[in-house]
């Protein structure tokens, strides 16, 4: 089975601040990492390869720094990586990224299964897997927490549909599956694999033009603007009055801020 895992470089959310005055992200000191959900996708791919054999290829789109993500995937266990690089791709929006990834997958054909992380940290919206599936013309499954090879050559995916409840989906290949962060952490890369991940021949780089993508293909579909900030935190407010009204006022405020479920109040 040839499995392609789409991995993305994002910022570590713990290192990203918000500038209230400029209404934008403050990226000073922000650290670039592999998107945490993508590591779960890699883990799922590696387990599938361990069970059913095959090849795991990491695919990433971005600028030159994105190579680190491909190398980390190799260190974790991927057989090789492909980086689609270029300045226009560093700022590409969702539609263009999906097109570039689809072209990359075409370049790596025949591919049986594409895995992605469900959502990107910091500012992801979870649209990549369905977009990619549409671009490829393949079926898609979301919220998947575990994968297994099926006897008929397809795969069986378990998707989380609610707390503690999963749905079993049988998928014929080729297909796109979005892996959600699960309970078990992905494996740590072995230090020996880390030492060898930069060896020649493991990571290939190509440009969007190499894959036949035009500037029009990569045109942005959205324009990202400033941030809308919640009101400043005001401490020391007092909810006064008799207990019953204070309790009601508190519950209403908590409900309005979606801190407690509507079912509770």
């Amino acid at each position: 089975m040839r499995i392609v895992v789409c991995v993305k470089q994002t910022y570590d959310p713990a290192t990203v601040k918000i500038s209230r005055s400029r209404e934008e992200f403050d990226l000073r000191g922000a650290v670039k990492i592999t998107n945490p959900a993508d590591r779960y996708a890699l883990e799922a791919a590696l387990r599938l390869r361990e069970a059913a054999g095959g090849e795991v290829i990491a695919l990433t789109v971005g600028d030159a720094d994105a190579e680190d993500v491909g190398r980390e995937a190799i260190a974790m266990g991927a057989d090789r990586a492909l980086l689609i690089a270029g300045p226009e791709l560093a700022s590409a929006t969702g539609r263009a990224v999906a097109r570039a990834l689809a072209a990359g997958i075409g370049h790596l054909a025949p591919v049986d299964l594409v895995l992605t992380g469900q959502v990107a940290a910091v500012d992801g919206a979870g649209g990549l897997a369905p977009r990619l599936a549409a671009a490829l013309g393949w079926p898609v499954a979301l919220d998947v927490v575990s994968l297994a090879a099926a006897a008929d050559g397809g795969i069986v995916a378990t998707a989380a549909v609610g707390p503690g409840v999963g749905e079993v989906i049988s998928l014929a290949l080729p297909a796109v599956v979005a892996i959600a962060a699960g309970i078990e952490r992905p494996r740590y890369p072995q230090p020996a694999r880390i030492a060898n991940a930069w060896a020649p021949g493991l990571l290939a780089t190509c440009t969007a033009q190499d894959l036949g993508l035009t500037a029009e293909d990569l045109a942005p579909d959205v324009e990202v603007g400033g941030l809308v900030l919640p009101p400043e935190r005001t401490r020391g407010q007092v909810i006064a009055g008799p207990l019953a009204t204070a309790a009601e006022e508190l519950l209403a405020a908590l409900k309005a801020q979606r801190l407690i479920s509507a079912a509770a109040a």
């Binding site: 890369p189 230090p191 020996a192 030492a195 060898n196």
Partner: protein, 388 residues
């Protein structure tokens, strides 16, 4: 001069920092309380390839060199000195003695299991009457055909109770003294006559296991002689040098953790209406600590580079150990002071760090010995001969 880490080492540092935060830190308090290593954690260290980091891949190591080893020790030392001690005794001196002094057959026989953590190593040098004066050890090895019979006892052996493979220094010719009269041997758990003696109850690093090792006519095959007969002292002294560097890196981690803790508390603790971070005395403590840490960091990583580029490093390794242990002690002491009463509480981390730090100035060669080594190295070109 390019001070950036090579790419693989940058990724390795990230990996080991994550491992330290997710696997080691949650266990640190319990290990200290129970006074024993967490063997589940030791198993995980082995499984994740962290017990063979500097050794060549052909022997089962990761091939990340001394630089990788220092990154490992810094990251672990920042969260749990006990774990760093276990790793240091295993990689830094236990396995290292075989790696530096062993022949090809011995390396192929022992290193793969040791690098994978399937076996744990210990380094047996110190005796009741031979601490700093290592040359006056009494453990005796007598030749018997193609075996050696070893009798004696070693004390303060880190990993002693959990080790499978021990490198032991014994006297083979009492007339020759340290130069030509002592030999290093590889002794394995299960050899009749080898036993674990008194377990040490320590002030700090209570999550590491330290004990006496008793050798009662242990028969060791000639194939387990490490290096040349009579050349054991050189092997051991060489091994201690790399061990010292790793300890310096662990101290760097501990000092950095202390600085982080100090700053967090000072920023949040309000007295006289303002955070204490706004008081100059606190700022001086922080500035001094930060400066010492930077100096130590440069020293440690430059020394690691010297090791990996096959330059002599005895002097620098001793400096790393000396300066590292003192910087860590000062930094952690200041952290306790900044935390005030809370710093003295057994319910909080800095108290454990304070207890753990004290040993660094004593073991792996006391700081007095380190000063002698440094003085000897510095004054040699001037024709001065320094003796302990």
């Amino acid at each position: 001069m390019d001070f950036t880490l090579p790419k693989p080492h940058q990724l390795f540092r990230k990996m080991v920092q994550e491992f330290a935060a997710q696997e080691v830190l949650p266990r640190a308090r319990q290990m200290d309380r129970q006074g024993w290593p967490d063997m589940e954690l030791v198993r995980k260290l082995g499984e994740n390839g962290l017990l063979g980091v500097p050794f060549a891949q052909e022997y089962g190591g990761a091939g990340l060199g001394e630089l990788g080893y220092c990154l490992l020790m810094e990251a672990i030392g920042a969260v749990c000195t006990s774990t760093a001690t276990i790793i240091g005794a295993h990689i830094g001196i236990g396995v290292m003695a075989i790696y530096l002094g062993g022949n090809e057959e011995q390396k192929r026989r022992f290193l793969p299991d040791l690098c994978a953590g399937r076996k744990i190593a210990a380094f047996c040098l110190t005796e009741p009457n031979a601490g700093s004066d290592a040359a006056s050890i009494k453990t005796r090895a007598v030749r018997d055909g193609n075996r050696w019979i070893i009798s004696g006892s070693k004390i303060y052996i880190t990993n002693g109770p959990i080790a499978d493979v021990m490198t032991v220094l014994a006297v083979t010719d009492p007339t020759l003294g340290a130069r030509g009269g002592v030999t290093a041997f590889i002794v394995e758990k299960g050899m009749p006559g080898l036993s674990v003696g008194t377990i040490e109850h320590k002030l700090g690093i209570r999550g590491s296991a330290t004990s006496e090792i008793i050798l009662d006519e242990v028969a060791v095959p000639a194939a387990n002689v490490l290096g040349q007969v009579g050349a054991g002292f050189i092997t051991f002294m060489q091994t201690l040098d790399t061990g010292r560097l790793g300890l310096g890196a662990a101290c760097l981690g501990g000092a950095s953790a202390a600085l982080d803790l100090m700053c967090r508390y000072a920023a949040g603790r309000v007295q006289f209406g303002r955070p204490i971070a706004e008081k100059q005395m606190i700022q001086w403590m922080i500035a001094d600590t930060a400066t010492e840490i930077e100096a130590l960091r440069s020293l440690v990583y430059r020394t690691a580079w010297m090791v990996d580029t096959h330059q002599p490093y005895t002097r620098e390794a001793a400096m790393c150990k000396l300066y590292g242990s003192e910087v860590a002690s000062r930094a952690i002491n200041r952290a306790v002071q900044v935390y005030g009463g809370l710093g003295y509480s057994r319910d909080f981390t800095v108290e454990r760090m304070w207890r753990d730090a004290r040993i660094a100035e004593i073991f792996e060669g006391t700081n007095e010995i380190q000063r002698i080594v440094i003085a000897e190295q510095v004054m040699r070109p001037y024709g001065v001969r320094v003796r302990p």
